[in-house]
Amino acid sequence: MLLNIKNLHVAIDGKEILKGLNLGVNKGELHAIMGPNGTGKSTLAAAITGREGYEITQGEILYDGEVINEMAPDERANKGIFLSFQYPVEIPGVSMTNFMRTAINAQREFNGQPPIPAGEFLKKMEEKKKLVDIHSKLTNRSVNEGFSGGEKKKNEIFQMAMLEPKLAILDETDSGLDIDALKVVAKGVNELRSEDNAFIVITHYQRLLEYIVPDFVHVIYDGQIVKSGGKGLALELEEKGYDWITEKIEA
């Protein structure tokens, strides 16, 4: 199993958000995590990637057979965990090219490889840009600065393509996207799917799952996965809303 989350409890400022969550993800699978706002979807992404301030109070996250509860975020990234941010961060003055080269070389150094030759790097940039329809020259643009909402999300998928992760988590990648941008993002994701990697797609709406078809759908409510099923579950949720699940639980 690539990712195995067992009885995960996560607290922010002492307040428990995840309350015993279990999730297993195998290579080649795509899992969708759905649920109402404020139930812990983004907290799960933050806990897997090791964001500061998200305290694991109980349980463990196993990645590739290793407990990563205390691992630094950059080490997790270099081991192949990638997060597409819900709100990509702007870093003024740091060009996309420089940023990506630094990231790729960090990964290569981690794997005992020499830095990427300039020519190879530029070729790879051009290739991956096409994947998500980025036409602008990224050399002169600072990371996410002055990017539109859609461009920022495309840029996340572009970086995913560059870094070739084993486990990619897409946190509300569909929020703020128009239908055309959504299709571009979905196309990028679908092309990157393979037998060797896995995806966790976090979303509030079923819309994205029309284009990125999940193998499994899970519903988070109050810090736990309360229902799991196949892709049909997403449609059911779209039709009935979340209330029928939450009511059942609270009853």
């Binding site: 090791g50 975020p73 870093i91 940023f99 600072s142």
Partner: protein, 483 residues
């Protein structure tokens, strides 16, 4: 990531070693410690100076004796004992040097260690270097190329001997001996420095560079630089500095004067990396420098770019007096302080001519227990119709034990002037750091990346060779600092 880890990284930053702290064993010719009229005469005599220059020095010395050391800057240091300093120290010369082969091998080695090759064959293409060690110019490269364009670029002492009329005309024409305490001291005891004159209509084809090095112990360094851009000329000038690691503090009080005549443009870039002291704040250079440019002619332009990473104390305000109509002044600065360093630095833009423009971009970065202040003055005189100034002074704090301060003074006496000043103070955001980490970039590299991005606007103004050096310097000085 835990607090502890962050603290460890900070700890590591504060223990980062100074790379240029070695000391070279070069035979020196020194004056006795202390300062009095005899020492001033001694220096002048050593340099075989004409009577007028001795008089100039004595006048400055007498004036200095009546002055008080300024105390308005946000810096703290124990009183300087001006009688406990050696005011003249020069590498001993056996005879006039004919070629590089005759330079003391220790000295050549020193410059090689600094990455400055005085051997023209091995040099970075297109940079002429004047090397100044303990206030005495030891070697100026590329003389032939420069001579072809009638450019004068030599040590100050040589200029006094060979071009007295030019020196006499422009010396102290921008920074009078009465200007301030340290300028007066420098005027009395300066030992050497660089002199540069670009004739009418000449665009200097290569970058000119002076490399300053303090070597000897207990020695003050008082160099004097004078740059004159005649009508329609252009020059880009670079200055670099290092010093050995010593437990005692060393005083550096330099004066740089620039004169730009009509349509002339002078770019002056500095990468200042004097020894900053150890992590307990022991030792380090006291850097009290007066740098000023006079845009004397119409349409002239003077641009200062500085990357300040060294010195225990920095007190320095490169300025422009915009006298000519349509003249322009620029100041771009990145100042980094770490450990116990203290910097009080900024710029003065004095608008006197019509349609004069000035720009100030200052990026301060504080780490460790350091204090970093921007202090600047923008003054628009009554007659400076349509003067424009834009200033932006940003501060970045790394850690919660340092300070970042901004003291702009803005004065306008002309109703057609437009002056804008903006400043922000912030820290590296956790979000930016996490974003980089999530892409596999470790905290240290991420900080280097973000800080370089933050300072990019200024680094872009440096000539290529310097920009690379400066970027590395920033990353080294701040590797991994985060609060």
């Amino acid at each position: 990531m835990s607090e502890d880890k962050n603290n460890n990284i900070l700890e590591k930053v504060t223990t980062e070693d100074y790379k240029y702290g070695f000391y070279s064993d070069i035979e020196m010719d020194t004056a006795p410690k202390g300062l009095n009229e005899d020492i001033v005469r001694f220096i002048s005599a050593k340099k075989n100076e004409p009577e007028w220059l001795l008089e100039f020095r004595l006048k400055a010395f007498r004036y200095w004796q009546k002055m008080e050391e300024p105390d308005w800057a946000l810096i703290n240091y124990p009183p300087i004992d001006y009688q406990d300093i050696i005011y003249y120290a020069a590498p001993k010369k056996k005879k006039e040097l004919e070629s590089l082969d005759e330079v003391d091998p220790e000295l050549l080695d020193t410059f090689n260690k600094l990455g400055i090759s005085l051997d023209e064959q091995k040099m970075l293409a297109g940079v002429a270097v004047d090397a100044v060690i303990d206030s005495v110019s030891v070697k100026t490269t590329f003389q032939d190329t420069l001579a072809k364009h009638d450019i004068i670029f030599c040590s100050f002492s040589e200029a006094v001997q060979n071009h007295p009329e030019l020196v006499k005309k422009y010396l102290a024409s921008v920074v009078p001996i009465t200007d301030n305490y340290f300028a007066a001291l420098n005027s009395a005891v300066f030992s050497d420095g660089s002199f540069c004159y670009i004739p009418k209509g000449v665009r200097c084809p290569i970058e000119l560079s002076t490399y300053f090095r303090i070597n000897a112990a207990n020695t003050g360094q008082f160099e004097r630089t004078l740059l004159v851009g005649d009508v329609g000329s252009y020059v880009s000038y670079l200055e670099g500095c290092t010093a050995p690691m010593r437990d005692e503090n060393q005083l550096h009080a330099a004066v740089v004067e620039i004169v730009a005549l009509e349509d002339a443009e002078v770019k002056y870039s500095t990468v200042q990396n004097w020894y900053p002291g150890n992590k307990e704040g022991k030792g380090g250079v006291y850097n009290f420098v007066t740098k000023r440019g006079l845009c004397k002619g119409n349409n002239s332009k003077i641009s200062w770019t500085q990357v300040e990473t060294g010195s225990a104390i920095t007190w320095k305000y490169p300025s422009c007096v915009l006298q000519g109509d349509n003249s322009k002044g620029e100041f771009y600065s990145v100042a980094v302080t770490n450990n116990h360093q203290q910097a009080d630095t900024g710029s003065k833009m004095i608008h006197q001519g019509k349609n004069t423009k000035s720009t100030i971009i200052s990026k301060g970065i504080s780490a460790g227990k350091s204090n970093n202040s921007y202090r600047g003055l923008v003054r628009v005189a009554r007659g400076a119709e349509n003067a424009r100034n834009f200033s932006q002074c940003d501060s970045l704090l790394l850690g919660d034990k340092c300070g970042a301060h901004t003291f702009p003074y803005i004065k306008s006496a002309n109703e057609t002037a437009i002056i804008e000043h903006e400043a922000t103070t912030s820290k590296i955001s956790e979000d930016q750091l996490f974003y980089c980490q999530q892409r596999g970039i470790d905290t240290e590299k991420a900080i280097g990346l973000i800080v370089n991005g933050y300072a990019k606007e200024v680094l872009n103004k440096l000539p290529m060779e310097f920009a690379v050096e400066a970027q590395k310097l920033l990353a080294i000085t701040l590797e991994g600092s985060v609060g």
